[in-house]
Symmetry: none
Subunit: 209 residues, 4 copies
């Protein structure tokens, strides 16, 4: 391994350190209450260093979302191309959401929040592109599966984009909702079981009778 390559690797590791620290802090405090100094401390770096890797707080925050969107997108694509029935694919989608939720419970709310506009002002054009592309890619994959279901005569004859929106929105929304209930009422974690119920409803609702 050449010296150049080692440096590059080192740099990416550092970047990842920051992202991990940021995820931790943002999770606990939220975007606005979290401070760059806290994140730096968590990453065992100085505040200035953060700015060598991310243009500003906003882009650091968005990076997390893009990361998870990439992950979501990748996982969903894997499902799409598997040699299993559509029905099974819908279950797998559910598992991806559970997966993401396990990885970081705040990711979905961040995603929604990000896209809902409060932020996004200081984002570079490049960042914005990444965001849109990955979002589109993930969404596109789901549409594809829904289409497959319709084409094979298994799913009801609704507009595939709308069905995909229902699927995505429901899964994500349920995660958010059950999670927020948990926080508010200190209930125990029903995300998994509720999503499983959701799957049953969904799959029966999607299918032609």
């Amino acid at each position: 391994m050449g010296i150049h390559e080692r440096k590059l690797r080192e740099k990416q590791r550092r970047r990842r350190d920051i992202i991990n620290a940021a995820r931790k802090i943002f999770s606990v405090k939220g975007f606005n209450s979290a401070t760059m100094e806290e994140i730096a401390t968590e990453a065992e770096l100085s505040p200035g260093t953060l700015y060598l890797y991310f243009k500003n707080k906003e882009e650091l925050h968005t990076s997390l979302s893009i990361d998870i969107l990439k992950y979501l997108s990748t996982q969903i694509h894997k499902v799409v191309n598997q040699d299993i029935c559509v029905e099974e694919k819908i279950v797998r989608f559910r598992d991806v959401f559970i997966d993401v939720y396990d990885y970081d419970p705040n990711i979905l709310i961040n995603l929604f929040h990000l896209q809902s506009g409060e932020t996004l002002h200081n984002l570079s054009e490049e960042m914005m592109q990444h965001l849109k592309e990955n979002s589109a890619r993930a969404h596109g994959a789901i549409i594809q599966v829904v289409k497959e279901g319709i084409d094979k005569g298994i799913f009801i004859d609704e507009h595939p984009v709308a069905l995909a929106d229902v699927l995505w929105g429901s899964y994500a929304g349920i995660v958010l909702w059950v999670d927020s209930k948990r926080k508010l009422d200190d209930h125990k974690d029903f995300v998994r079981t509720t999503l499983t119920t959701a799957f049953k409803v969904m799959i029966q609702g999607l299918k032609k009778n």
Copy 2:
């Protein structure tokens, strides 16, 4: 009407003015970018006056959510007690969400965001109670309908709370998701149509075959 009553009414009117101004500003700028001064200006009051009616920015913001939760709760209760079949009640629930979305597209994201922890730190115990109560009330009503469906042998035999969560989470999540897509891609507004599709999926999915 006594002088005391008139004063009380005046006070409530003022309070409402502030809330309306706050909603307007928060909608456009988001919680953090909105400033108390802007809200005061919009309400044609001075900043100091806001603090005679609300303990702090946080509680003012939460008031909006509680307001809408109250509305949601009321509307949902109306549906529950109507003399219509469960299936029809599920449609009405959808309409309530559309209604809320029309009233203020940012309300649901606020609700989720509020409950997802970033805020809530400076809330008074009283405010917290209000929030929990109204949330529980709205949710309870939905559970009731789901139970009715199960009891009447119309709905599938899943845990009613889980089914209610699926219903609420899906409706809310779809609104959020479609709305965020709209913002990101400047698509036109598919919230209504997607929710209608959602209803079809939901209702078929909920029903015993």
Copy 3:
């Protein structure tokens, strides 16, 4: 005196306090080394208050220059309209520069520095206008006197604007130069005497032989 008027007056006094404090600090430390906190402390105010009266550090700094430009402009205009010979008016111009120098030795260098572009980026359009207008007004008055001298056949037949520039540039430049020598070499203050010599040279140089 009405309450409104009193408030206005109070506000202007406060503004003047800040300007005086700023002048003091800027004089000692220069634009960049001076901090807003120091200025606030000097004015016996909190840092935030400064921003109620001036948009930012830049505009506060520029205000000083505009102030003195106004003063310069006013004094010069007075000279122009006096019933004295042109020759005498040139002496009076010299006195105005001495006056300004006595008031604040750093003003002229600030003026030059300001106009030489390093700053000026955050200036509001309004500020810029003030600056240009006052600059033009002062300069215009000098041109007028030069013209008068030429018209009366007293001064040499050069372009009046150029002659005015020579006059202004020389007087200002000499102040700067002698002052900077003083700082560098701890010489005593020859500004007055040198300007007096300058006048002699100038007036003889300007006159037709």
Copy 4:
């Protein structure tokens, strides 16, 4: 040429590269807005390297001024020792200022600004000495010419130092003034013509009638 000498030469070439880069950046951005990184990039070096050649930003900046002072001083000395009449020497002084202005329009303002105190805090004693010496040398040469004029009965009988200050201050001040007018009003460049007018005024003003 020995290896030692070659290294020395190489080092001085590098030093010059940095100075040229610095001049370019400082000219465009001014002392404070210019960053060491920009200068390093312009010089195709890394930031750290700059500090091998200059103690700090301040000294790098001052080096430019010393450089030009040296140049000024040299040019002026050349004029002094030429076998031409005093009158002609005064013209040549004007040409030196034009020369310097053509080389870098910001040099004179830097000179004034430098000497007017904002900077100078972090300068090493050595640098300070350089500055004073070169300044004195240039100024001394002008005094010499003025003395020559007085001694020969050509110039008026004023204190030679004062006359030299008038000369230097006027020439420099006019350059600054006309240049700043140009920047503020986007006028075209009258520096040359105005300095020529200045010469006429000066020379006539200096001479015994």
